[in-house]
């Protein structure tokens, strides 16, 4: 009996020491800086997400002595898998910051190498760079930057006889157009509604945060949300858009709502361009004429093609795992510079991805088959002041959780706007900002 207990205790002790030791070690080698280098890069859904291979191949062509190997992760559980791999010391040399919300987790956990020197070399053309800066240092380099724009169905606008958005719209114009479209499309015998607002909190809050002057997520004051929710509720109750309840219970996808012409307008990120092109050519989406316009603005000062419309969107960035071998650091930094720079941007635009340096590639982009050709679409794609949806801070993830609860409570009609905002504010104060 004693022996068996000793065996168990011994095994347990070994196991505990293994777990506790697991975090510190893991730095694999001290390989020399000369000669060919192999970097590993994280990616997801490699067969249908060509951006990683495009970057890897493009970089290898420019730097023949560096090979970039891809390591595949699951698209929906990317961060869970990556956190586990980093904790166990098995993560690749370069990994993607799939969304800005988790960036703080990696940075705070010391899982990102300081890449300020790369950022300095890139200049200010790269959108979203500042989102990765904390305490004066840069920890990741963005290679793509999507921004939210207004997608609209030209055919449905024609059918309803409503003037298409010309870049001068404020939110009031948007609301009245949505209502007008709904009413006239009904008369014209179409089932389509004026607009589709997807179930995400960002469809309301992203714009509210970006377009309200003085709005600050971490201030814990959310009164800036009120006019945006009042409008969204108005659209919902007037029947110009599907209600949140019906959209969630029926798992409506934005791809089908817009692609199958269920709605004449939809606010969505520019990543949808590539999807829409692909679905129209595969037959998953209907064939129709579509276009893009800048997102509606809070007031007239930022409307019109001479101004810069304000919108939001999070960048996607590349970070370096601090545990990569010493000899690989230089090569890894070169890779980041390539991905964010003009060469990388062109390569990405060629496959329908909005690169961080979007102005440089507008022509490449609009040469893709199926793209609209009007000037407003080009303007909407190329020119915008894109504010982050998730400004990086210790509190962002917690605050976004609180605000998501607010979103579902308000849009489902469970709570009036004012009550929901004051509840969110007190929760923010007592549960998030007090740490």
């Amino acid at each position: 009996m004693k022996r068996s207990i000793a065996v168990v205790l011994g095994a347990a002790a070994t196991a505990i020491s293994l777990v506790l030791a697991g975090c510190g070690s893991g730095s694999d080698s001290s390989d020399s800086s000369s000669g060919p280098v192999t970097l590993t890069l994280a990616g997801w859904s490699l067969s249908t997400t060509p951006e990683f291979k495009t970057l890897a191949d493009g970089f290898h062509a420019a730097h023949p002595d560096v090979t970039v190997q891809l390591k595949e992760y699951d698209a929906t559980n990317y961060d869970t898998q990556m956190i586990a791999d980093l904790a166990a010391g098995k993560a690749p040399d370069i990994y993607v910051q799939k969304n800005l919300k988790n960036f703080y987790t990696y940075q705070h956990g010391k899982q990102l190498l300081d890449v300020s020197d790369v950022a300095k070399g890139l200049g200010d053309k790269v959108g979203g760079l500042s989102d990765y800066q904390l305490g004066g240092k840069t920890y990741a380099i963005p290679y793509r930057q999507d921004s939210w724009v207004l997608f609209y169905n030209k055919d449905l606008f024609g059918k309803a006889g409503v003037a298409v958005p010309d870049g001068s719209w404020t939110w009031d114009d948007y609301v009245s157009a949505a209502k007008q479209l709904t009413a006239r499309l009904k008369v014209a015998g179409s089932k389509a509604l004026g607009d589709y607002q997807h179930t995400w909190q960002s469809t309301v809050q992203g714009f509210a945060l970006a377009q309200t002057s003085g709005a600050d997520l971490t201030s814990g004051n959310f009164s800036y949300l009120k006019p945006f929710y009042t409008r969204a509720l108005d659209l919902q109750s007037s029947g110009a858009q599907v209600s949140l309840g019906d959209a969630t219970t029926n798992s409506l996808t934005y791809q089908a709502e817009f692609g199958k012409q269920q709605a004449a307008m939809m606010l969505m990120g520019t990543w949808y361009i590539a999807t829409l092109l692909a679905q129209q050519s595969s037959g998953d989406a209907d064939q129709f004429q579509w276009g893009m316009a800048p997102a509606p603005q809070s007031d007239k000062s930022t409307t019109g093609t001479s101004a810069t419309p304000v919108t939001f969107g999070d960048p996607t960035g590349l970070g370096i795992n601090p545990k990569l071998g010493k000899g690989k650091v230089a090569a890894a930094k070169q890779f980041l510079a390539y991905a964010a720079g003009e060469d990388g941007a062109k390569a990405l635009a060629g496959i329908g991805i909005t690169p961080a340096d979007s102005a440089a590639v507008t022509d490449t982009f609009f040469a893709l088959k199926g793209m609209p050709t009007d000037d407003v679409s080009k303007f909407a794609f190329a020119k915008h002041d894109t504010k982050p949806e998730n400004p990086v801070s210790q509190y962002t993830a917690g605050l976004q959780n609180v605000l998501n609860d607010l979103h579902t409570a308000v849009m489902s009609g469970s709570k009036p706007v004012d009550a929901a905002i004051s509840e969110a504010q007190s929760r923010a104060k007592n549960e998030v900002l007090n740490k």
Binding site: L86, A87, T249, G398, D405, A409, S414
Partner: protein, 301 residues
């Protein structure tokens, strides 16, 4: 259960011999269990007192996590929602699965088919299941509300899209999903009841209800105990069903503890705090289980 002479005779055997024999039975399972489950769980007790960030950084913070918990309104919301779910889910599932097991524990034509059907909700993909139920519950277009309107209910509930009805809806689906699972355990338990007892009761002229009370229920006691404990733990831990059905909403109306733990850990990077909540969940389950054990023991005595 144990009669006195047996107990006395057993006590006469040397304790050390029983211990060796007992451990030799446990070891094959226990080694794997201790190394792979017990160790990480014990570590969790340590992490609960630190500001662990999952990458190895763990600073001792004493009771800070637990103090934070006391004042965390969301934690209390999650706890009370979990208790709400548990209080209704346990009796409903217990009753439904027992009734199913009794119904299907006989020579019916196609009984194999009906049993498999009853088990289907458990093996059907949870995504599909949540999907269909959500569609049925859909406030504007769902068949459930269409029927309610047809029979004269003017303002049918919003089900998963209403803060008041979301929890009942989730409980309903949870019961529906798990009844086949526990039915299986009851079926196994029913086989252990000696047939002679039924015969004897029948000879004594007991009615069906009396036979059920006097033979079936006592015979099922170990199974019922097992099912109750598993149901309790399962209800306190409920996670994926809520995640796919309501994701805790609307508002925080269906936020439960497991989901709160996941949010605090993987989303908000407070793994130390999440560990502390896990410990609370563990202790709550332990207390309930111990209570169930002692009630069970008293009944058996």
């Amino acid at each position: 259960m144990t009669s006195m002479p047996v107990a006395r005779r057993r006590r006469s055997r040397p304790v050390w011999r029983n211990t060796v024999v007992g451990w030799s039975f446990l070891l094959p399972n226990f080694i794997g269990f201790a190394v792979l489950t017990l160790v990480p769980v014990v570590l969790l007790f340590y992490y609960a007192f630190t500001s662990w960030d999952v990458f190895g950084g763990a600073e001792w913070t004493g009771l800070a996590n637990f103090r934070q918990l006391l004042h965390d309104h969301s934690f209390w919301t999650a706890l009370s929602n979990t208790v709400y779910y548990t209080l209704f889910h346990i009796p409903l599932t217990l009753a439904a699965s027992l009734v199913l097991a009794l119904l299907l524990n006989r020579k019916l034509r196609a009984v194999a088919f009906f049993r498999t059907v009853a088990f289907f909700p458990y093996i059907t993909s949870i995504v599909a299941l949540a999907q269909v139920w959500n569609m049925l519950f859909s406030p504007g277009y769902g068949p459930i509300n269409e029927i309610l309107r047809a029979v004269g209910v003017h303002h049918p509930p919003g089900w998963t899209t209403s803060a008041d009805w979301s929890m009942p809806a989730v409980i309903l689906v949870g019961t529906w999903r798990e009844m086949g699972y526990y039915m299986l355990l009851f079926l196994a338990g029913l086989q252990a009841i000696p047939t002679q007892l039924y015969e004897a009761a029948r000879v004594d002229g007991a009615t069906a209800w009396q036979r059920f009370r006097a033979v079936t229920l006592p015979g099922l006691r170990p199974t019922t105990f097992f099912v109750t404990v598993m149901l309790t733990i399962g209800s306190f831990k409920v996670f994926d069903l809520i995640l796919v059905m309501t994701n805790g909403g609307p508002g925080q109306s269906t936020l439960v503890l497991s989901q709160f733990i996941y949010q605090k850990g993987f989303v908000e990077n407070q793994f130390g705090y999440a560990s502390a909540v896990s410990i609370v969940l563990f202790v709550v389950c332990l207390l309930v289980t111990v209570a169930q054990f002692s009630v069970n023991r008293r009944r058996n005595a």
